[in-house]
């Protein structure tokens, strides 16, 4: 269970880093959290409260459930042979969360945001899935610990760079973060999260940071050799690598513009999917 708590702490750290990059003081996320906690809920006319609440709560829950299978060195909260599939299943819960939130509040802009995310999720899920499968294929396992341990000296990020790059890009899309933040875009006055306020907004955004932290944590056993490294014990190397990937993901938000998703969608279908398939072919040939 320590691993899950560590990822939770990393999610908070990600929020702080994001604030710092935007030039705000390090305490800003905590102040904002306290403000949201005391804020009264905004009500919309004829909202579907049940669906909205399910959407809000399911996002951090999915992140926490995904964190169960993320290994730190040799340690993992829940050891399972199908960790990769479980992680992906929990990522997909975010589609439901965002759509439910966008639908439930009965507001036009929020609804558009929800639909945007379903389309974006669908377009990037396939390349994402192929990137995950490529690493599993090379290690002959869906167990994240086995995959991390199978990279003797040569990280998968080095000899399958396309899969690693696609993983990072599609992770941003699956967590609707940074350049893929269109579902919560400023052009929609906040998109799917538009009508959320107070504790609801806090829980929803915390869930997104959680998902970001978990995705960074999974990149380590998949492509960066897991806990392998000189001198330090395995868990600390995992932690260092996770922090590095998470910082990179957070950094993109402040250095890259938000992409118009309907334009960039074509790239996902016609560039990323063939690229990952070719990468998988190469890996398949080398492995067999």
């Amino acid at each position: 269970m320590v691993e899950v708590l560590v990822l939770g702490a990393l999610a908070v750290a990600a929020a702080t880093l994001s604030g710092t990059l935007a030039g705000r003081p390090a305490a800003a996320p905590f102040r904002e959290a306290a403000r949201l906690l005391t804020l009264q809920r905004r009500r919309t006319v004829r909202a579907d409260v049940l669906l909205t609440r399910i959407g809000v709560v399911s996002l951090p829950m999915a992140a926490a459930l995904a964190a169960l299978v993320v290994p730190f060195g040799g340690r993992v909260a829940l050891s399972t042979s199908v960790g990769v599939v479980w992680f992906n299943a929990m990522e997909v819960v975010a589609w439901a969360s965002v759509w439910l939130v966008g639908w439930g509040v009965n507001s036009a802009y929020a609804l558009v945001g929800g639909y945007r995310f379903v389309a974006q999720g669908l377009a990037y899920e396939l390349p994402h899935m192929f990137a995950l499968i490529t690493a599993s294929l090379a290690a002959h396992s869906l167990d994240l610990r086995v995959i991390g341990g199978a990279q003797h000296g040569l990280w998968y990020a080095v000899w399958m760079p396309v899969a690693f790059a696609v993983y990072l890009v599609s992770t941003l899309a699956m967590t609707f973060w940074g350049p893929f933040g269109h579902p919560l875009g400023a052009d929609l006055a906040g998109g799917a999260a538009l009508e959320l306020s107070g504790p609801d907004l806090l829980v929803f955004l915390a869930g997104r940071y959680g998902l970001l932290a978990v995705s960074a944590g999974v990149a380590v056993p998949l492509f960066l050799g897991g806990g392998a490294g000189p001198l330090l014990p395995g868990w600390s190397w995992s932690l260092v690598k996770t922090c590095a990937v998470l910082s990179l993901l957070v950094w993109t938000r402040h250095r890259l513009p938000v992409l118009r998703m309907d334009r960039f969608m074509t790239a996902a279908w016609t560039v990323l999917i063939p690229a990952t398939l070719l990468q998988m072919l190469v890996v398949g040939i080398v492995v067999v």
Binding site: A89, A96, G104
Partner: protein, 166 residues
């Protein structure tokens, strides 16, 4: 413990399945159906089919989200938050559903169930894949990629832009 989990999931699966036809919003119906499928996925996990169970969870969430888009699009009242009914042709539907239930229940009770021979395989997923696909595994994999490529190419060519305006 496992028996309790089995019954909780079974009752929840049937309950949320009934809810699909009781609720008055298409969005709620969609997600009630999703909840029912997730309970079925939980049952698979319970009998030790880990890969299949998690796969059902993954595929059903994706599928029902796509379904939600279409169900809302095709419903009588696309705004969706107005009351609606999921039941049509009640009498005929009841007869068909009751008949199917009776036939299946009779099957459970009347069929002589085989005794278990041998032991469960170490990896049930591999055994199942081998039993279903057998020697045509490679062919099916190639066809799978070909179908995917065809689907994407068709959509790219058929969309309003995509051919002349990337």
């Amino acid at each position: 413990m496992e028996a309790v989990a089995f019954w909780v999931l079974a009752v929840a699966a049937v309950g949320t399945g009934v809810a699909v036809f009781v609720v008055d919003s298409m969005a709620r119906a969609t997600f009630a159906l999703l909840a029912s499928f997730l309970c079925a996925g939980g049952e698979l996990l319970l009998v030790g089919l880990r890969y299949l169970g998690v796969l059902v969870v993954l595929m059903m969430i994706m599928e029902m989200l796509v379904m939600a888009v279409f169900m809302v699009m095709y419903m009588m009242n696309p705004a969706g938050l107005m009351p609606m009914s999921m039941t049509h042709n009640r009498r005929g539907a009841l007869a068909v559903a009751g008949g199917a239930f009776a036939a299946l229940a009779a099957g459970i009770l009347l069929v002589p169930w085989p005794e278990r021979r041998g032991r469960p395989p170490r990896d049930p997923t591999v055994a199942l894949g081998d039993a279903v696909m057998g020697s045509s595994m490679l062919v099916m994999m190639v066809i799978g990629v070909a179908i995917l490529a065809t689907m994407i190419a068709t959509v790219v060519l058929a969309t309003h832009r995509g051919r002349y305006d990337a």
